[in-house]
Amino acid sequence: MDLDKDNANPTILNPSDLPSRHRESAVKKREDGGTGLFHDLIPQYTYLSDPFEQPVSESDSDDDSVEDIDEQEIYDLISSISDPEHPLSLGSLAVVNLPDIHILPPTSPYSSISTVLVEVTPTITHCSLATVIGLGVRVRLEQALPPRFRIDVRIKKGTHSTDEAVNKQLGDKERVAAALENGTLMGVLRKMLSTCE
């Protein structure tokens, strides 16, 4: 895949300007690969530690702690993805931005399914790689988040000439699944995600 550089001189943010918690990185890597709650259920994934270790002294119910993944944590997961054209991260190119990440809680007390909505801003309006970037974000979150999260990745409205078509593709589970069986595309995605660990 020969990548034309659509945007040779993108604006680059200084790493110290990127959003963070101003404390020890929120996303702790789990050295043991264990994932607590979901580990026994679905061993083939590597999830984030879900009941995110916070002082749970008062509460011994882990039902309440499942909402502890927040927008900053999502940001940390995807901002380190490399842009497929530039040797830079999606965070420093402002392709992903903290205010464009939304976590929607379950809509019913009987449901445990939360939705993560990420709006990505391609570096220029006709960026041909918008779909690949969106796919990278979706794959990263599907691999890193527990399966109770539904992941919606969209192109931020008005920032891309064919955003509707790209959104439709990114929202199509079957197309995404088929794309992940495509060796060439997986090679590109693997390279983008190689900077995430």
Binding site: S112, P147, A177
Partner: protein, 438 residues
């Protein structure tokens, strides 16, 4: 999210879970037309066949496809053997056969929890690869045999629908390549009585096709869905004798006329979509047509003009799904509808006569189709199950004949749901209610 005002009258009780040895996504399940078997299409490139009597894994079909198996369909009306078609993301369809003459002994001989490996010891016991259908340019998304077994329809991301005819065993001829859609074709389904094919697409439309003077042509296009249409399925045959219409005592004239209309229309169509709706479509009966049978005897030059069909949207089912609906299925026994999708819920809907306001509809408004102005029937949700596959998405739901020890009569059914967790769950619909705590 508004919940039904009246308490739900039924619940879905778990009966069994069909668990594959690997838990990669399972896409779809197909109950065998006459044996107590179900075939499942898995993303690990295999097809697994389970018993619906013992709920154990009987066969694992591997080695045929290079990518996910997306769709499976049993050929109806075959005696002495089972014929299975498989459609894959590798753009090919496979045909598999298995001798079923000794099937009865098979079920009793097998150990519970058999893992399928024992099949390799006895080759003739296995599903034999018999031929491959090549032609699509990209992933096959769905395939379906016509009720007579004469035709196999396949559809693909390449935007086309192909119709294959099996001239003799393993000799398939492409008799039509239909390229009406502007996007991936997600699903194909056949009318239960006629050679009428429906397809649903990423282009948000549903199209219907018929053979007209040796050419398959589009005869209708359904546009109301606002997003990708994921699934399309026809109602069973002769349902007015089985569903809510079966009880004919005390009907008003209007209701009697509605049943007559339904019978002239023939089986209806259900579709579901990314737009979170399930829609029911009905064919307008032809002027003067006694039955909706094929236009035999009419010269083809006239037939060409008359072949278009008029399908109207009859109903939108109560909207209680919050994300894409991937699958919808009619019960052939009761006319109930099941739906499932990304939100992990299974919903069961029932159609019933709507209680009309006494001063309401006059018998004389024949100018306006009653289905548009004041529907005589309504669909209500009778069961709603959250998290049917824990937190996972449900890719497919369908009805199957009940075959385990708990079966009480021939019409007993189970519901099969197929999920991203790789499992197929078997449910029984029972009367009873769960009062939701508020």
């Amino acid at each position: 999210m508004s919940h039904p005002q009246e308490p739900l009258s039924s619940i879905l009780r778990p009966l069994s879970t069909l668990s594959p040895p690997s838990n990669s996504r399972t896409w779809q399940s197909a109950p065998h037309p006459n044996l107590p078997l179900v075939a499942t299409a898995c993303s690990d490139r295999t097809v697994r066949v389970y018993s619906l009597t013992s709920f154990t894994l009987l066969h694992t079909i591997t080695g045929g496809h290079k990518r996910s198996v997306r769709s499976v369909s049993w050929k109806p009306g075959v005696k002495g053997q089972s014929v299975l078609a498989t459609g894959s993301f590798d753009a090919s369809a496979g045909i598999w056969r298995r001798d079923e003459r000794g099937v009865e002994e098979d079920f009793t001989r097998r150990r519970a929890g058999g893992d399928g490996y024992e099949d390799e010891e006895e080759d003739d016991d296995d599903y034999q690869f018999s031929c491959i259908l090549d032609g699509h340019e990209s992933e096959i998304k769905s395939l379906s045999w016509s009720p007579s077994g004469q035709f196999l329809a396949t559809c693909s991301r390449d935007k086309s629908v192909w119709i294959w005819e099996e001239l003799e065993d393993d000799n398939f001829e492409t008799i039509a390549v239909l390229q009406e859609h502007d996007g991936d074709v997600k699903c194909v389904a056949w009318h239960p009585e006629e050679d009428l094919l429906a397809s649903a697409s990423y282009d948000d439309t549903v199209r219907l096709y018929k053979e007209d003077a040796d050419d398959w042509v589009q005869v209708a296009q359904l546009n109301n869905h606002g997003m990708t249409v994921w699934w399309v399925e026809f109602e069973g045959s002769g349902m007015t004798k089985k569903n809510f219409c079966a009880q004919r005592d005390g009907l008003t004239d209007e209701q009697a006329r509605h049943i007559e209309l339904l019978e002239r229309s023939g089986p209806r169509l259900a579709t579901c979509s990314d737009d979170c709706t399930v829609r029911i479509w009905r064919r307008e009966p032809r002027e003067g047509a006694e039955k909706t049978s094929a236009n035999t005897g009419i010269p083809s030059i006239i037939r060409s003009m008359a072949i278009d069909e008029d399908w109207i949207q009859e109903a939108v089912l109560p909207q209680q799904h919050e994300r894409a609906i991937y699958s919808v299925s009619w019960s052939q026994k009761t006319g109930l509808i099941a739906s499932a999708g990304s939100d992990g819920k299974i919903l069961i809907y029932k159609e019933r006569w709507k209680v009309q306001a006494s001063n309401g509809v006059t018998a004389e408004d024949q100018d306006t189709p009653m289905t548009e102005k004041s529907p005589l029937t309504e669909w209500v949700v009778i069961a709603e199950l959250f998290s049917a596959h824990d937190v996972f998405e449900i890719n497919h739901v369908c009805w199957a004949a009940r075959s385990d020890k708990g079966r009480r009569n021939d019409d007993d059914e189970v519901i099969l749901s197929t999920g991203d967790d790789g499992e197929v769950k078997v449910w029984v619909l029972e009367e009873g209610s769960v009062i939701p705590e508020t």
